[in-house]
């Protein structure tokens, strides 16, 4: 083995920035279009089990299987992230993430909580969606959830 000092070893610093164009598909496109145009959240009802799913799934082609849910719901679990989140802007912690079950939905989904004092966040807290002023067709069109 060579005895090269550690400070002379090369560490090549780089990053990969690859543009993608992910097709959201018909179902997600409809979900986001209704948020943008109606400020309403819709899930899909499974034609077999009758369960209302959020996010919506492509297991039904029927318009009547789209069901409005929320905008209120209940916090089922939460965490306060105390490290910087590099994909957010600003990246400054703390960020509160919660598993939220919207009224009328049978599944929960993850989103951020805001406009809440950190020590007031509890499982069972009632929250409601705050829609973004300008919709851009992604999950941040619901800007965050806040206490009802």
């Amino acid at each position: 083995m060579s005895s090269q000092p550690e400070e002379e070893l090369i560490v090549y610093k780089s990053s990969m920035r690859i543009p993608y164009r992910w097709a959201a598909g018909l179902t997600a496109s409809q979900f986001y279009r209704r948020i943008a145009q109606e400020k309403k959240i819709y899930g899909t009802r499974c034609p077999k089990t009758q369960k209302v799913m959020i996010p919506p799934r492509k297991n039904s082609q029927s318009e009547e299987d789209w069901v409005e849910v929320g905008p209120g719901g209940i916090v089922k679990s939460f965490t306060i992230v105390r490290y910087p989140v590099p994909s957010l802007n600003p990246t400054t912690p703390p960020v509160v993430y919660a598993l939220i079950q919207l009224d009328g939905a049978d599944t929960a989904f993850v989103h951020q909580l805001s406009e809440v004092e950190i020590d007031k966040v509890k499982t069972g807290l009632r929250v409601t969606a705050q829609f973004a002023e300008k919709a851009t067709g992604n999950i941040m069109d619901i800007q965050y959830f806040k206490p009802e």
Binding site: E6, W22, I80, S87, I100, V110
Partner: protein, 381 residues
């Protein structure tokens, strides 16, 4: 049906940053170590299965980078882009299918090279989840709270896992995070993602592990201490966290039932001598032991408080220190298999479980234990 045995194992030391080796060189180190232990070379290997991740290596088809290192030229080499326990399952299948006599299984990962929060965020789909910015640690924290509140499990129960495993790791020369730490000290560690503190979360480690599998009739050519693959179960659950009941894991329950039934185990707590778990977070050791049938639901902590899962107890859990002691993504499950094999061979040094004849090795992958693979390994054929 033919039987398959583990005839050799090797692992590197795990560390925060192995700056003197590139990712192919950690693979080379561990394969060379395995070959030297067995006195063989690449000509004795019929088939190669590797486990690694493109995202962690920062390139496509991450197995390409280690093909030279494992001696895969003019051989079949295929990759499992998932945990090492699943690479063992696939390796065993390639032998039982009659195609190959021996299979080398290798897993490698250098966690130090990519930004872990961003890679963990990329686990989540770009249509509905990724822009929220959360990662595997935040997802684990959501499950920790759901489980703890449902069963009234306290932070001190999590700290008991930390104290046991990091202390066990002080006996393991390959561990990355090893420290004699008390429950009180673990409770004082910094909050990272409530309710998880610094030592509740596995470190990000660099390292590699390799094992050699052989068909029954070839085993004696390699070793007089084979470790038999006697049972395996592999199941997965829903992808979206909100589709699952995070207080439990149906996929682990089913995987355990399958593995126990194949190995003829009816009372795992009595019939297993030790358990090596893939617990990325302290709370997962509690959940996983319960779902493996070693404790009642919600009572996983009693295994530790009673001393049963400590070294020298009735059923030691993570005598090596487990994943809290070293965590290289996808490697950690293969290390569980290797550690269980070392125990059954009587080669676990300072953390040997005396008289071990049957062990469980577990792997998981996906946020909050989406996929599980359970192995039962035996000294006796």
């Amino acid at each position: 049906m033919d039987r398959v045995a583990i005839v050799g194992v090797a692992q590197t030391k795990f560390a925060a940053q192995k700056i003197d080796q590139n990712y192919a060189e950690i693979a080379y180190e561990v394969v060379e170590s395995l070959f030297n232990k067995l006195g063989i070379d690449h000509k004795d290997v019929d088939n190669i299965v590797t486990a690694s991740s493109d995202f962690w290596d920062g390139r496509t088809i991450s197995s390409m980078s280690v093909q030279d290192a494992v001696g895969a030229w003019l051989k079949s080499e295929t990759k499992v882009s998932s945990d090492g326990t699943l690479a063992v399952l696939y390796g065993m299948m390639r032998i039982l299918a009659g195609s190959f006599g021996t299979t080398l299984v290798l897993a490698h990962c250098k966690s130090s090279e990519g930004q872990q929060t961003m890679i963990g965020n990329a686990v989540f789909d770009p249509i509905y989840q990724r822009q929220l910015g959360f990662d595997l640690v935040a997802a684990g924290a959501l499950q920790a709270r759901a489980y703890m509140e449902h069963y009234q499990v306290g932070e001190s129960d999590l700290a008991a896992v930390v104290a046991k495993n990091l202390t066990n790791a002080t006996r393991n020369p390959n561990a990355h995070r090893a420290m004699s730490i008390s429950v009180e000290e673990a409770l004082k560690a910094q909050l990272v993602a409530d309710p998880l503190r610094e030592y509740d979360i596995a470190p990000n480690s660099d390292g590699a592990c390799a094992i050699l599998l052989a068909r029954e009739d070839l085993v004696s050519k390699f070793t007089d201490k084979p470790v038999w693959l006697s049972g395996v179960g592999h199941y997965q659950d829903n992808y979206y966290l909100g589709d699952r009941d995070l207080t439990t894991s149906r996929s682990l329950e089913k995987a355990a039932q399958k593995a126990y039934s194949m190995a003829g185990i009816t009372n795992p707590r009595k019939e297993l001598n030790l358990v090596e778990l893939y617990d990325t977070f302290s709370y997962q050791e509690l959940m996983w032991t319960e779902l493996l049938g070693l404790a009642e639901r919600g009572k996983g902590a009693e295994l530790i408080h009673s001393g049963a899962s400590h070294l020298g107890g009735e059923i030691p859990v993570n005598p090596s220190g487990g994943v809290l002691g070293a965590h290289a993504m996808f490697v950690a499950g293969l290390v569980r298999v290797a550690e269980a094999a070392l125990q059954l061979r009587g080669e676990a040094g300072e953390y040997q479980v005396e008289g071990a004849r049957r062990a469980l090795a577990h792997g998981t992958v996906g946020p909050c234990g989406q996929t599980h693979c359970v192995w039962v390994l035996s000294k006796d054929k």
